[in-house]
Symmetry: C2
Subunit: 368 residues, 2 copies
């Protein structure tokens, strides 16, 4: 939800910084294990971009952030953000730079912007792209921070592909071990940007990289994106192992096998995916973080400890919201069944069956 206006560029690369974040910005995204509260990934990232663009001459100083308007204590959230420089609802206690301008109007936000940063729940991407079609700067470049994939009749579609195809722009992907609250508190972490065009990767690196938010770039959009989607399945496995109290060796084995299946799956469905990507923050590091904390792990652990179904636990623990891990497991399983490949992915298949076919949780180690 941020869009920079006035593209008066001073340097070679004419760019208006424009972050673009959905609200409620964290539906279906990561959060620390200690809290089930929603956290504002979009605001956390806008804080970084807002500061970084001021350090380069070739970026417009103003960063517009699209905010789905809502009332907080009788006031508009955008007004609060623009006067108090804090997203009191989704990232309370963290000051945003004053050059972050919250804007409730989507088209107004992206007007003239040449860099579009997508941080919205993945189910909103399609309708947002429809609204944006033909309305964005033809020079614009996009980057997605959305962890998830879009399931369609003939399989699935990457979010970056949806953005590229519907808006006719090149899209990068940013993903990593980046729990939003810790990013906002400026605790050291890393992230990965996958690019198709190196210049795009380097440009986006400039608006995201800080000493405590280290950006590596790699020529592999698909690998970076698939890591972000598939890790949630493995986190269910991590939670099952925690619930079963199987210990540190077993947990590490599930993470390792999970990383292996993520890599094998991605390379089976896409050409040009790099092994190296899985050594990056988007791969092994994000998987470790997600299996250590996060709601997928937490609900799966509760499944073992209480014997309740995932459906019931989603009602009780998540107000009926669906876990990304279980739904992605189902989507992937449907693809594997269709292609006759379940035997090649025993971990993902077993996780699906535990979630949806009442398979006992202990099968997580017996059937893989």
């Amino acid at each position: 939800m941020a869009g920079g206006k006035n593209s008066h560029s001073l340097a070679q690369q004419p760019v208006t910084a424009s972050t673009f974040v959905g609200s409620p910005s964290a539906v279906g995204t990561d959060k620390p294990i200690t809290s089930m509260a929603r956290v504002g990934r979009g605001s956390a990232i806008a804080k970084i971009v807002g500061r970084n663009v001021q350090q380069f001459d070739h970026f417009d100083n103003e960063v517009k952030m699209w905010v789905f308007e809502e009332k907080v204590n009788g006031r508009n959230l955008t007004e609060i953000i623009n006067t108090e420089h804090e997203n009191v609802k989704y990232l309370p206690g963290i000051k945003l730079p004053e050059n972050i301008i919250a804007c409730p109007d989507l088209l107004e936000t992206v007007k003239d912007a040449t860099m579009l940063v997508f941080v919205v729940p993945h189910q909103f991407v399609s309708s947002i792209c429809k609204q944006l079609k033909g309305k964005i700067n033809p020079q614009a470049k996009a980057i997605s921070l959305i962890k998830g994939i879009d399931v369609c009749d003939d399989g699935f579609r990457l979010i970056t592909d949806m953005i590229q195809e519907s808006l006719n722009v090149r899209a990068c992907m940013l993903s990593g071990a980046n729990i939003a609250t810790e990013v906002a508190e400026e605790k050291f972490c890393e992230t990965t940007i996958g690019y198709r065009n190196r210049g795009d990767g380097e440009l986006f690196r400039e608006i995201f990289h800080t000493p405590t938010f280290r950006v590596n770039i790699i020529e592999d959009v698909v690998g970076v994106e698939m890591c972000g989607a598939l890790k949630n399945i493995i986190a269910i496995g991590g939670g099952l192992v925690d619930g079963l109290k199987l210990g540190a060796n077993t947990k590490a084995a599930i993470i390792r096998i999970g990383l292996y299946e993520m890599r094998k799956f991605t390379k089976m469905f896409y050409e040009g995916v790099k092994d190296e990507t899985f050594f990056e923050s988007c791969g092994v590091a994000d998987l470790i973080t997600t299996c250590a904390g996060g709601r997928n792990r937490k609900v799966a652990e509760a499944h073992v400890l209480t014997g309740k179904s995932f459906d019931q636990l989603e009602q009780e623990m998540l107000n009926g919201q669906k876990l990304q891990g279980t739904s992605t497991a189902k989507d992937m399983y449907n693809i594997l069944i269709k292609k006759g490949l379940t035997h090649e992915f025993p971990l993902m298949t077993t996780i699906y069956r535990i979630c949806y076919e009442d398979l006992p949780s202990i099968k997580i180690v017996e059937d893989i």
Copy 2:
């Protein structure tokens, strides 16, 4: 400390199973975070080998285990093991198969054995090899389960190289996320065998693989072995981050960067090392386990929380025993300094400086 006798082979491959385990068997090896007690890696692994050899015709049923003799409640430990089938001192509560024969005499243990399993503290390897020289079956194959390297004047030497050169046998390497107590309790885990000769790798796989101790084999002895040595340095980093309370993103970043530097270091010093090895249990999984538990992590955390030096903490927490992580960090740093390579390994270098040069712990994220 186990040596099989009587090589009456019934199959193509004439082999006498002979495990060979030092005692106190766990000096300098892993143990779970919840306990500082020594655990018997050798006995845990002998339990597996003892059962497995009975399932194949081409192994001698008897497995000899060399045990450094000591008195427990007035009785010899070997006698207790051979009558009660339990290593009451180093792996209490776990029954050993009856075909494990504890033997206090090193040369008697290895007599006729064609498979030698080394599970001793790494500082004992050199003297053991001297005693064994010329006394072993010329057909023997060896495998090392020893996590550590031998530092010498011109750098360092792999334990498998020491065994190969001094005994004139081929040596494999087994390493993985294998906390001994969890292995003994038959909780699911994985491990990796690195081999030079595929037949050797497959043969050793037979005596180690079980449904709950899954063995993958890979043609990369050096990679497997270096992972086991270098991970302890990174675990110091993990402990520092825990002490600093930097959160899950940071911990995952340190593990990721650690895995990267382990791989880069190993490939820089040896040819033929495979990236794939670092995706195996010996690589990413063992690193995760070691950074989650283990005494290197624990003492490093205490260093931050108490402000005490590592020397002092080793006195207080480990009865003066030296941590493998700090000593390996020093060994590697000396090599990096000599070769002018410290800038290429900022994490290992910073960990060394925190341990030995009073660098503040926060530099773990500021200097890398």
